[in-house]
C-alpha cells in the first residue's frame, strides 16, 4: 500500500493528465487529423476529447471498485496470476514503447530544426541521467515535473496570437462542411495525440482522496482538448488545406513568422521550451512502466529504472530515419488506441462480471 506521505493531492491529477496528454503531438498533429474531415477536423478533436472523458470515467469505475487500485493487481484479480501477469507485462512494454517514441520523435525534431548533425547517443547521455534523477525518487518529483510541464510552457499559447495577423478566416469556412462519418474518422486519428491517460491506471493509488480526483482528471482532459482545438483552429485559419498537406510540423511553422526586436526565428525558443513538456511525458511513462514492472516482479524500483533506461537508450539509437520513426509512431498510436478504446471497456466488463461472480460465490 502507498503511504500517505508519498501521496499527492487530488488536484495534481489535473496536471498529471494534461502533462501526459500534451507532448510532441502538439507540434504536428494538424496535418495528420485533417485526412478525412479537412478544415472541419478541429471538431474531430472535440469529439475525441469527449471520447476520452468517457474512457476516464470507465477507468475510474475500474480503479475505484478494486482494492489496490492499480493495473497489475486488477489484472491479477480479473484474469488470474498467469494471464493477468502477461497482460500487465504487455501493458508495461507498451508504456516503455511510448516513452521511446516520444523521446525519439523529439530528438528527430531537434535533428531537423536545430542540430542536423547532433549525435543521438551524446544528447541522450545528458537526457537519460536527468530522467533517472526524476523517476528514481518519490512520485512527488514526477508530479512536480508534470506541474512545471503544464505551467511553464503555457506562455507558448500567447505566441499563437501572433500568426492571427496573417490569417484568413475563410480557410475554415463553411463550418460542418463534412459528414459526421468523416469527422468521426478524423477523430480516430486525433486520439493519438492524447493517449497519455493510460498512466492513470498506475499512479491512481498515489493520489490522496483518490475518489475525489475524478473531476480533476476530467478537467485536465478538457483543458488539453481546449489546447489542441485552439492550436488547430489557429493553424487552420493560418494555412489553407493544400499548404497543410506539405507541412509536417505545422506549429513550428506558425512560430517561424514571429518576430520581435530582439528575437527572430521563435521556433528555436519554442523547441527548447517544449522540452519541459516532453520531459514529464517521458518521465511519467517510464515511471509508470517501472512501477508496474516493480509491482509485477518485485524487483527494486531503482534497479528496474536503470534497466528500462538502458533499453530506452539503446532503442533510441537504433531507431533512426523518418520512415522508421513514423512507423514506430504509427504502431504505438494504434496500440494505444486499441488499449484505451477497446481493451479498457472490455477489462471493465470482465472485471465487473468477475466481481459479481466472486460476490455470489462468497
Amino acid at each position: 500500500m502507498v503511504k500517505v506521505k508519498d501521496q499527492v493531492p487530488a488536484l495534481m491529477v489535473f496536471f498529471l493528465i494534461s502533462a501526459a496528454q500534451s507532448g510532441v503531438g502538439v507540434l504536428g498533429f494538424q496535418s495528420v487529423i485533417n485526412k478525412y474531415a479537412g478544415h472541419d477536423a478541429w471538431i474531430s478533436i472535440i469529439v475525441a476529447g469527449l471520447g476520452f472523458n468517457i474512457i476516464i470515467w470507465i477507468m475510474y469505475r475500474i480503479l475505484q471498485n478494486n482494492d489496490g487500485g492499480e493495473i497489475v493487481s486488477i489484472h491479477k484479480f480479473t484474469y488470474g496470476k498467469w494471464l493477468g501477469g502477461i497482460l500487465s507485462f504487455i501493458f508495461s512494454v507498451y508504456l516503455i514503447l511510448t516513452s521511446i517514441v516520444v523521446l525519439r520523435t523529439y530528438i528527430e525534431i531537434i535533428q531537423v530544426w536545430m542540430f542536423p548533425y547532433v549525435k543521438v547517443w551524446a544528447l541522450l547521455l545528458l537526457l537519460i541521467p536527468l530522467i533517472y534523477y526524476i523517476i528514481s525518487g518519490e512520485f512527488r518529483i514526477v508530479v512536480g515535473v508534470c506541474f512545471f510541464g503544464v505551467v511553464y510552457p503555457f506562455f507558448l499559447i500567447f505566441t499563437l496570437f501572433y500568426p492571427l495577423k496573417y490569417s484568413n478566416l475563410t480557410n475554415i469556412l463553411p463550418i460542418l462542411d463534412h459528414s459526421f462519418t468523416e469527422i468521426l474518422q478524423s477523430s480516430s486519428l486525433a486520439i493519438f495525440s492524447f493517449l497519455g491517460i493510460s498512466t492513470l491506471l498506475v499512479f491512481y493509488p498515489f493520489i490522496r482522496e483518490s475518489r475525489k480526483s475524478q473531476k480533476f482528471a476530467h478537467i485536465g482532459n478538457i483543458y488539453t482538448t481546449f489546447l489542441y482545438v485552439f492550436i488547430c483552429l489557429v493553424s487552420y485559419i493560418y494555412y489553407n488545406q493544400s499548404e497543410l498537406q506539405n507541412t509536417i510540423w505545422a506549429t513550428l511553422g506558425l512560430w517561424k513568422i514571429i518576430e520581435m526586436p530582439f528575437l527572430a526565428r521563435f521556433e528555436y525558443v519554442g523547441i527548447a521550451t517544449l522540452f519541459f513538456s516532453i520531459l514529464p511525458n517521458v518521465a511519467l511513462y517510464l515511471w509508470a512502466s517501472t512501477r508496474s514492472l516493480h509491482n509485477l516482479f518485485g524487483i527494486s524500483h531503482k534497479k528496474t529504472a536503470v534497466f528500462l533506461l538502458a533499453i530506452v537508450y539503446i532503442a533510441c539509437i537504433i531507431i533512426s530515419g523518418r520512415e522508421f520513426i513514423a512507423f514506430i509512431n504509427d504502431i504505438t498510436g494504434k496500440a494505444g488506441g486499441i488499449l484505451l478504446f477497446c481493451y479498457i471497456p472490455i477489462l471493465f466488463l470482465i472485471n465487473l462480471i468477475r466481481r459479481k461472480v466472486k460476490k455470489n460465490a462468497s
Binding site: 499527492v8 493531492p9 488536484l11 531537434i110 536545430m114 542540430f115 547532433v118 544528447l123 545528458l126 537526457l127 536527468l130 534523477y133 526524476i134 525518487g137 512527488r140 518529483i141 512536480g144 515535473v145 506541474f147 512545471f148 518576430e259 520581435m260 526586436p261 530582439f262 528575437l263 527572430a264 526565428r265 528555436y268 525558443v269 523547441i271 527548447a272 521550451t273 522540452f275 519541459f276 520531459l279
Partner: protein, 487 residues
C-alpha cells in the same frame, strides 16, 4: 571520629587539586589568615572579570570575619553563587568563569561565584542586510545579547528557548527558539534532534550548525536562511518558524524556509505593498537575468545566430570581429575575471578593495576590449549579470547564483538553447527534490498553494496576510487570534 577522617581527606583532596591548578599559567590564588581560619580564593585570570572581583568580592572577605561560607553568599551581591563539596568539579567551573572561595576550618566546601568576563561588541547596524528604513539593530557575537534582542521584540511567555551545548571541545551554547502554540512541534523536534546528533569537536559559527543539520549537504542551495536582523527573526518566529542561535555567531538560522524567501528582503515589509511587490519582482527578474544572460549569449552566438534579428546581429558581429576566441572561452574568461575581482574585493580591507574594483572594472575591462580579447557587448552583459546577482538580499543565495552560471555555460556551449533548457531542467528537478527540515523547498510553487503566494513573488498588504504561511505548518493558522495574546 570518622567524620574527622573524611574532613582530613577532603582537605588533602583540596591540596591536590590546588597543586594541579597552580600548574596552569593563568591560575591565581590568594590565601588569607583570619583569626583562626584561613581562606583561600582562586580563579583563572583569563576567564573572569577582575573588576568585579576587586569591587564586590575581595572587600567583603577581607573586611569581615566569616566562619561560614553561607554568610559569604548572603553578603556578596552576585546571583547564582553555589556551594559544592566535590573538588573534582572545580576545574570545569573555573573555566566557565567562576571564582572559588575555600575555608579550611569549617566543613570543607567550595563557594563558587560566577563573574565571567563577557566582553562583546556593541549592538551595531546591520551591514549585510542593510535597509534604509526600519530598525537598525544587528545581532552580535554574544548569544545572551542576541536572545535579549529577540525577547524584547516578542513579549509573550510562549517564546520558548531550548538551550544545549554542541561541540566536544568548544562546548558552544546553542539555543533553539520558537513560539509555543504557533510553531509546529515537529519542526522544533526535528531541529533539536538534528542538533543533538551533531558530532563535531568545534562549532565556531552558526554556519557550522547549518552545514551539519541541513537536509542535503551536497546541494549548492542553502536550505536554512541566515539573518543578522533581530526584527526579521521576530517576524519569522511569529510566522511559526524556528530560529537557531549559536554563541559566537552574529548570524541566526531560520527554518523551515523556501526558495522564494531567499529573494525577499526584509525591507519589503517596511514599504507600501505596491512598491515592495514591484521591487521584489525586479529582484527576481535580476536574478533570472543574471543566471541566464551569459549562457544565452554563448548559446546564440555558438549555435543559432539566426535567432537574432538582422539589425541586432550587425552590432553583435561587429563587436566580435576582433575577438580570436569562441564565445564560450570569451565568456568564461570574463566571468572568471569578475569572480576574481569579487574574491579579491571580499578578502581585502575595504579601502584597498575599492581601488581593486576600479582597477579591475575599468582598467582591465576597457583594456581587454581594446586589445580585442573580448567583445564589448559581452563585457556589458557580464557586468550586468554580476550586478543582477548582487541584488539577492541573502548573501548565501548570491553565492549559489554565482556558481550555477558555470554549468549553464557548459550546457549552452554544447547544445545551445536546448542545452540551457536541459540544464534548467536539472536545476528544477534538484530544487523539487530539496527539502528544508523535511518541508518542500519549492513551496508555494510546488506543492502549489495559492494562499502562500500572497508573500512570495509579490507581497500583498498586511490585511490580506491574515494567515500564516502554510509551508511551516503553523499550529495556529490565523494570525489574528486576538483572544490568545490580548487578555
Amino acid at each position: 571520629m570518622k567524620k574527622k577522617v573524611t574532613k582530613k581527606k577532603k582537605q588533602r583532596d583540596f591540596q591536590n587539586t590546588l597543586a594541579e591548578l597552580t600548574q596552569k599559567d593563568d591560575f591565581i590564588d590568594y590565601q588569607f589568615e583570619h583569626n583562626d581560619s584561613s581562606i583561600c580564593l582562586g580563579y583563572l585570570k583569563s576567564a573572569i572579570d577582575t573588576e568585579k572581583l576587586e569591587k564586590y568580592i575581595l572587600p567583603q572577605i577581607q573586611q569581615n570575619d566569616y566562619i561560614d561560607l553561607n554568610e559569604v553568599i548572603n553578603d556578596i551581591p552576585i546571583t547564582k553563587s553555589q556551594l559544592i563539596d566535590d573538588p573534582d568539579q572545580l576545574q570545569e567551573m573555573l573555566i566557565q568563569g567562576f571564582v572559588f572561595i575555600y575555608m579550611e576550618n569549617v566543613n570543607p566546601q567550595y563557594l563558587l561565584i560566577p563573574i565571567p568576563l563577557t566582553k562583546t561588541r556593541q549592538v551595531g547596524i546591520p551591514e549585510v542586510e542593510f535597509s534604509v528604513v526600519g530598525p537598525k539593530e544587528a545581532f552580535v557575537e554574544n548569544i545572551d545579547t542576541n536572545l535579549n534582542l529577540v525577547r524584547k521584540r516578542i513579549s509573550v511567555p510562549e517564546l520558548s528557548m531550548e538551550k544545549m551545548k554542541v561541540g566536544t571541545v568548544t562546548k558552544t551554547k546553542v539555543a533553539v527558539v520558537s513560539i509555543e502554540g504557533i510553531a509546529d512541534k515537529e519542526n522544533v523536534r526535528t531541529v533539536i534532534q538534528r542538533i543533538k546528533d551533531v558530532q563535531m569537536d568545534q562549532v565556531i559559527d552558526s554556519s557550522y550548525i547549518q552545514q551539519a543539520i541541513t537536509d542535503n549537504q551536497n546541494s549548492p542551495f542553502p536550505q536554512l536562511l541566515d539573518t543578522e536582523r533581530p526584527d526579521r527573526i521576530a517576524a519569522v518566529l511569529t510566522e511559526g518558524k524556528v530560529a537557531i542561535f549559536v554563541d559566537g555567531s552574529p548570524h541566526v538560522l531560520i527554518g523551515p524556509t523556501t526558495l522564494v524567501e531567499f529573494f525577499s528582503a526584509f525591507e519589503d515589509y517596511f514599504l507600501n505593498w505596491t512598491l515592495a511587490s514591484a521591487f521584489r519582482l525586479i529582484r527576481l527578474f535580476a536574478v533570472f537575468f543574471s543566471i541566464l544572460i551569459t549562457p544565452l549569449y554563448v548559446a546564440i552566438l555558438t549555435h543559432h545566430f539566426e535567432l537574432i534579428p538582422k539589425t541586432l546581429l550587425g552590432t553583435l558581429v561587429s563587436s566580435r570581429t576582433q575577438v580570436p576566441f569562441p564565445p564560450i572561452l570569451e565568456a568564461i574568461i570574463l566571468e572568471l575575471t569578475i569572480e576574481l575581482l569579487r574574491e579579491a574585493g571580499a578578502r581585502l580591507p575595504s579601502k584597498i578593495g575599492q581601488t581593486i574594483g576600479i582597477v579591475g572594472g575599468i582598467v582591465i575591462g576597457t583594456a581587454s576590449v581594446e586589445a580585442g580579447l573580448t567583445s564589448n557587448v559581452l563585457l556589458i552583459i557580464v557586468a550586468l549579470a554580476a550586478l543582477g546577482s548582487f541584488t539577492t538580499p541573502v548573501y548565501q543565495m548570491g553565492n549559489t547564483i554565482r556558481l550555477i552560471r558555470f554549468p549553464l555555460l557548459a550546457f549552452a556551449h554544447i547544445y545551445g538553447i536546448l542545452g540551457v533548457g536541459i540544464c534548467i531542467a536539472y536545476i528544477m528537478v534538484h530544487l523539487l527534490k530539496l527539502t528544508s527540515l523535511g518541508r518542500p523547498f519549492l513551496e508555494p510553487i510546488f506543492p502549489f498553494r495559492l494562499t502562500d503566494l500572497k508573500d512570495a513573488f509579490i507581497r500583498l498588504p498586511f490585511d490580506k496576510q491574515n494567515k500564516r504561511p502554510f509551508a511551516v505548518r503553523p499550529e495556529k493558522v490565523l494570525r489574528s487570534a486576538k483572544q490568545d495574546y490580548e487578555k
